[in-house]
Symmetry: C2
Subunit: 288 residues, 2 copies
Amino acid sequence: MNTLQALRQRFNTTLSAELAKLEHIPPALHDAITYSCIGGGKRLRPILAYLVAESLGCSFDKLDLPVCALELIHIYALVHDDLPCMDDAPLRHGKASSHSAYNEATAVLVGDGLQALAFTWLSQAPGLDAETRLALIATLSTASGPSGMVGGQYLDLHPPAHIDRNFLQNLHDLKTGRLIRAAAHFGLIVSGCKDKATYTTVQNYATYFGLAYQAQDDLLDSTSKTETLGKPAGQDIHKHTTSTMMSLTETKQHINDLWKLAQAELDLLGNSAKKLLEFTGQIKQRDY
Amino acid sequence: MNTLQALRQRFNTTLSAELAKLEHIPPALHDAITYSCIGGGKRLRPILAYLVAESLGCSFDKLDLPVCALELIHIYALVHDDLPCMDDAPLRHGKASSHSAYNEATAVLVGDGLQALAFTWLSQAPGLDAETRLALIATLSTASGPSGMVGGQYLDLHPPAHIDRNFLQNLHDLKTGRLIRAAAHFGLIVSGCKDKATYTTVQNYATYFGLAYQAQDDLLDSTSKTETLGKPAGQDIHKHTTSTMMSLTETKQHINDLWKLAQAELDLLGNSAKKLLEFTGQIKQRDY
C-alpha cells in the first residue's frame, strides 16, 4: 500500500468511526449523512493536510479530527452543488447523488448539518490548544464562505456575459482553490509552523496544486467516460471551463506547467517534503 | 422607546454595519445576503442573549458580534426552510422570501454562506478570550446541527405515522427550542457566569420560553391574518402543531402555563432580571 492509499484508509476509518459515534440525530437523517460521506471520494484535502503537517514534523493524530471537519465541508458543498437547482447531477462517486437517493429536502439538510458538524468537531479537536482550534475554524469558515467557495459556486451559476481567463482563474480559485489552500493551511496551523518562508512556500504550492487540479478536472470531464469518473462525463461542457477556452494541446501544456510550478515549490522544502512530492506526482497522473 | 425596541435597534445597526463591511463577495450574492438579513425579524434571539448577559452584569458590547452570528444561523434556517423543496413559502417578514426574490440556487448559497459567516464572526469576536469564543462556537454549532435544529426540520418534514405530544414536544425543542436556549447560553458564556444555580435557572427559563414561543407561533399561524404575520397564515395547518392536537381553549391555557413557568424561573433571579421579565411579558402579548 502506498502513502496515499494508507492515508486514505486512515482517514476513512476515522471518519466512519466519528460518524458512527454521533448521537441524538433522527436515524433516517443519520443514514443520509453517512451515505453522503462514506464510499467514495479521493480524500484529497485530508491527505494534503496530513502530508503538509508530516513534512513539518507533526504527527498524524493531531490532524485526524480537523481533516474530518475539512472533508465534511467539501462533502456538504458536493451535496448542495448536485441539487436540481444547481448542477442537477444524478450521480456522485459512482452512486446516486444524495438528493437522488433520498429527496431534495433531505439533501439540503444533510449539507446544512454537515457544515454545522464540521465546526463542532473543530471546536472539540483533541490535542490542540484553544488558539489553534480557533485558527482552524477561522481558516475553514473563511475559505468556504461567501468570499470563498460559496462565492465561487455563485459565480459559476451566474457568470457575467463576457468571460475571460481572469474571470475563470478567479472562479477556480474561489470554488476549488480556497478549500485546497485551507487544507495546506490546516497542516501549517496544526504543526505550529512559524517560519514565514515555509508558510509562503506551502501556500504557493497549494495555489498551483489547486489550479492544476481544477484544470485537470475540467479536462477529464470533457475527455473521460462516466464509468471512470463516477459522475456524468461532459456535465460541465456547458460551463466556462479551461477546456472550452484553450485547445486540447494548450490545455495539457497549461496543466503540465502548473504541476511543474507546484513541484518546484516543494523542491524548496527539501527532503522533508518527499511524500508530498510523491503524492503530487500521483495526483498529476490521475484519470478520475 | 422601550428596552426591546432599543436593543432591536442596536442589533439592526450592528448587523447592517457588519454586513456592509464584508469584502470580496460577488456583489449580487452580497445583495441577496443583505436582503435576507435586513428589514424584518423580531431579533428575539439576540435580544434574549443581550438581556441574559445584562441580568448577570455584563456590558452589551461584548455581545454585539456573537449575537449577529446567532441571528445569521436563524436567518439561514429561515431561507432554507422557505425553499420549494421544504415549506415552499413565498413570503417572509412581509416581503418575498429569498428564493422568490432571487432564485433557488441563490437562496441555497445565501443560507450556506450565512452559516459559514456566523462561525467566522464567532472566531473573531472582539473582547473575548479564545476559550470563550470556542464555547460559543461549540454551543451554536451543536444547537443548529443534525442533533439540533437541522434534526428538528428533518422530523418536521418526515414525521412518523403516529404522532403524539411527546413527539411534538421533541420536535419543537429541536426546531425552535435549541436555538433559543443557545441564545440564553450565549448570555451566560459571554458574561462568564460560573454559578451553577444561575446557569440552571436561566436554562430552565429558556426552555419554557422556547416551548411557549413555539406553541404561540402555531396558534398565531392558525388564527392570524397574513398581513399581521408577514408570512402566509395557515401555512403550517397541514403540519402537526400544538393547535391541531388541542382545542383553542386548551392551547391558550397551555401557552399561558408555559409563560408562567418561564416567569417563575426569572423570579428566582430577583431584581437583576427585571428587563428580562419585561421582555418576556412583551413577547407573551405579541400578535405576530
